[in-house]
């Protein structure tokens, strides 16, 4: 099961749950599964970046998620 971790400012969307384990094949499925569990979270996640196994994606879409993947949502990073 892939491990999904939420930062503090998203805990409002997950009723305070910081971590969840899910079995999905890719990022799109992951979003669908999370939205099913916590309706409305998708909007907040769309404004976030995500790190899948250490690689940071500003706009993830169909990136593969493995059974042992670690997924972290984080604020988007802009720059000067």
């Amino acid at each position: 099961m892939a491990t999904v971790v939420f930062p503090d400012h998203l805990l409002g969307c997950t009723n305070g749950q910081r971590q969840v384990e899910l079995l999905v094949d890719n990022y799109r499925e992951l979003l669908l599964a999370l939205e099913k569990q916590w309706p409305g979270i998708g909007e907040a996640l769309a404004k976030s970046a995500v790190a899948i196994d250490g690689q940071i994606y500003q706009d993830a879409f169909l990136e593969p998620v493995n059974a042992d993947s670690e997924i972290f949502f984080m604020a988007r990073i802009e720059g000067g």
Binding site: G12, Y57, Q58, E70, G80
Partner: protein, 752 residues
């Protein structure tokens, strides 16, 4: 850590393609675009820091001879909140209301109306003829004051975001955020030693030498062309179109050469106004800001209050760290507190930490990105606290950082595990550096600090065209602020296997090249570079197939080597290699022009770490600081054009030194900036600085074909604390706040 790979041209230092035009005055910058029949536009700005706009009367101005158009906020379409414009500065409604105030002026200098006239003089006289009735409101100027429950409100509709419970009262705190791991209080209990402090840094400006400028023309068909100095023509096009409720396809944005940006030219100010004025007047309109307008109404970066507490064992190992950050966002939300919070502890491997961030609205200009937005302020606090810790532990400050340094596999405070990173390599390089092993001059002080920036990738496109004679054109869409055309040419030449001189890189407008996000976040060499490499690979694939067709062999039987198609080893073909020139000459017969393309959304921009140290002297009589030496060590992944990598490091160091020693927005009680000019907002000049020594560390970024990491942001991060720590070392007194200007140092010296 040296690169094992041997490159032909990468790592050399050729002259940039746009160089000759820039040393002869030929290059066209923002204010250099003139059109026949052109009008001059000017903006009327609020004389109050906080005021309700009761009435704006343009009639007298419009009646003047030579005045062709005038607009106020009411002439702009209503823009709904909720849409954010790419990287260009946040919510579209806020940007629209920053471009032209609607019912409220939120800072001194906020645009209230604009005119276009046949001459600049008439435009300026027309501004005086505009009659505005204000109801003056008390301004909120200080971040802590703005957070107080009784503070006057900038916006009655602003409710703090991300609170666990939806707030029922509006607030100047636009949003809060937090990051945590482990058990901080338990961590502090394990500590042998705890240091803490509160650190304040006022607003500072990017200080690009070229003021914002644009020229817009709208034709009878309703199509607009805008020439402007911008860090991103595509993001500007989106912003202008959204603010004016236009179709993106009806708008063309042509980027001029850009006279510095550092994040400050990621946001539109004049452009939507110029388009609207041109539409009203039926003539082209040029608008150029004065330096005073640049200071009062553009940029700056957040003023901040940061509180940090760090606990450690005797051996230096940090057991817990805690930070509380409050960042001014200016008149509208958009402070970089998120990256500030995510970067503050990024260089270190921490089990227990908590960072709380607050983004606070005040009656000052809306902040814009400034190099590594948010990181210099928060990391200044942490790096100063670590310096105090090292002193109390009697440890070399570099050793203290090494004991706690993040490395490959360390879980970053913002979540993911780091891939290969160069922080430890930077610490080692600094420790061995002759400037570090050299003894300190008598009376001088030395300070050390670390820096970090995430770097970003994002969307880029590139097109590579083979000319009839075998020369190559690279077309891309990222304004060249610091020599990026040269880097693109180098990567293209390396990939194609041809000399640098055979390739020329151009920056296209929104209609001549594919979409690119803006130049910023240290993404250009990384992401657009990746697109250029892929487009060259596309060319190579086509060249191989053309060669195969020419020789009557299979494509797999053709290899690309040293800029030529050659038969693969073992292929029995009695043919001469085909160069790009040969293939270009043969192109009409083998399928037509050869054109390579790539577009991508680049992921995996590797973080860039740095270590800086500086030696300086403090004049006990005047409080003036003399910087004796400054050394910047930074991981570039792979330096494509080392001279421009050094240039980024040196320029960032100079900006950081200015921020640490002199630069600050000074406000009077009414919210009027008192030093809106280069005379009083003192950026470093040549005689303020020594040579800035650089050492480039190269720890390959596995996500880029040549191992590149962005380098432009990180250099400004470490100088703040390095300077503060050196001043502490020199005078024996810790000053928590910046800038360390002569009056502040004198006060500290006198106060002892």
């Amino acid at each position: 850590m040296a690169e094992a790979v041997d490159y032909q041209v990468l790592g050399t230092r050729p002259v940039r393609p746009d160089g000759v035009d820039k040393v002869t005055g030929r290059a066209q910058f923002g204010a250099d675009q003139n059109l026949p029949n052109m009008l001059h536009g000017k903006i009327l700005r609020s004389p109050h820091a906080h005021a309700r706009i009761k009435r704006v009367d343009l009639s007298k101005a419009l009646a003047m001879d030579g005045v062709c158009a005038a607009v106020t906020g009411a002439d702009f379409p209503t823009v709904a909140s909720g849409v954010s414009i790419g990287e260009a500065g946040g919510d579209v409604m806020d940007i629209a209301h920053n471009v032209m105030a609607r019912d409220k002026a939120l800072y001194h200098g906020h645009a209230v109306a604009a005119v276009a006239a046949t001459s600049l003089e008439i435009a300026e006289q027309a501004l005086d003829a505009i009659d505005v009735e204000y109801e003056v409101l008390p301004p909120v100027l200080d971040v802590l004051q703005a957070m107080a429950p009784a503070a006057p409100l900038l916006d009655e509709n602003c409710f703090t975001k991300n609170l666990p419970e939806k707030p029922d009262k509006p607030s100047n705190v636009a949003s809060v955020m937090a990051l945590s791991r482990g058990d901080v209080e338990a961590g502090f209990e394990q500590a042998d030693l705890v240091v803490e402090g509160e650190y304040r840094i006022p607003m500072a400006h990017q200080g690009y030498i070229e003021p914002h400028a644009c020229t817009a023309t709208v034709n009878e068909e309703g199509k607009a062309t805008v020439w402007c100095c911008t860090q991103g023509q595509f993001d500007f096009r989106t912003a202008i179109a959204k603010i004016l409720d236009w179709k993106v396809g009806d708008m063309k944005v042509v980027p001029s050469e850009i006279g510095g940006g550092f994040g400050g030219k990621t946001v539109v100010y004049l452009e939507p106004v110029a388009v609207l004025l041109s539409q009203r007047a039926g003539r082209p309109v040029k608008m150029v800001m004065s330096r005073e307008e640049v200071f009062r109404a553009t940029g700056p970066t957040s003023g901040t209050v940061c509180r940090v507490k760090v606990g450690a064992k005797q051996n230096g190992r940090i057991t817990a760290a805690k930070a509380w950050l409050a960042y001014e966002s200016g008149a509208f939300p958009g402070a970089p507190v998120g990256p500030g919070a995510m970067s503050i502890f990024a260089p270190y491997d921490l089990e227990n930490f908590l960072v709380e961030g607050h983004e606070v609205r005040v009656n000052k200009p809306k902040v814009a990105a400034y190099r590594a937005p948010g990181a210099p302020q928060s990391m200044h606090a942490m790096e100063v606290a670590l310096d105090d810790l090292a002193r109390q532990l009697n440890m070399d400050p570099l050793d203290l950082r090494m004991v706690n340094a993040a490395d490959e596999g360390t879980q970053a405070p913002y979540g993911p595990k780091f891939p290969a990173i160069g922080f430890k390599a930077c610490i080692e390089a600094a420790k061995k550096h002759p400037n570090y092993t050299a003894p300190l001059l008598e009376g001088a002080g030395r300070g050390v600090a670390a820096g970090f920036w995430f770097n970003v990738g994002m969307q880029s496109s590139a097109e590579v065209r083979l000319n009839e004679d075998g020369t190559v054109i690279v077309m891309e869409g990222n304004p060249d602020i610091g020599g990026s055309r040269a880097s693109m040419s180098l990567m293209a030449a390396e990939t194609l296997g041809v000399p640098y001189e055979q390739v020329k890189t151009y920056v296209g407008d929104t209609e001549s090249t594919g979409f690119c996000n803006l130049t910023g976040g240290s993404r250009t060499t990384f992401a657009t570079g990746m697109a250029v490499v892929r487009a060259c690979e596309d060319i190579i694939a086509q060249c191989r197939s053309r060669a195969a067709a020419t020789w009557g062999v299979d494509e797999e039987q053709v290899e690309w080597r040293d800029g030529q198609a050659v038969p693969a080893p073992g292929v029995n073909a009695d043919v001469n290699p085909l160069s790009l020139a040969d293939l270009a000459a043969g192109a009409p017969r083998t399928g037509g022009p050869i054109l390579g393309r790539a577009s991508l959304n680049a992921q995996g921009a590797g973080a860039s770490f740095s270590v800086n140290f500086t030696d300086l002297k403090v004049d006990q009589e005047t409080g003036a600081v003399e910087v004796l030496s400054f050394t910047a060590v930074q991981d570039a992944g792979k330096a494509i054009h080392p001279a421009y990598v050094e240039g980024q490091m040196q320029g960032g160091a100079a900006q950081g030194l200015g921020w640490a020693l002199n630069e600050e927005y000074i406000y009077d009680a009414d919210g009027v900036m008192e030093n809106a000019g280069f005379l009083d907002y003192r950026v470093p000049v040549a005689s303020d600085l020594p040579m800035i020594d650089t050492e480039i560390v190269e720890v390959r970024n596995p996500s880029h074909p040549y191992g590149v990491r962005g380098v432009g942001e990180t250099p400004i991060v470490a100088p703040l604390a390095a300077t503060a720590n050196a001043v502490r070392d020199a005078i024996g007194i810790r000053i928590n706040d910046l800038p360390l200007s002569p009056p502040r140092i004198l006060a500290a010296l006198g106060g002892e």
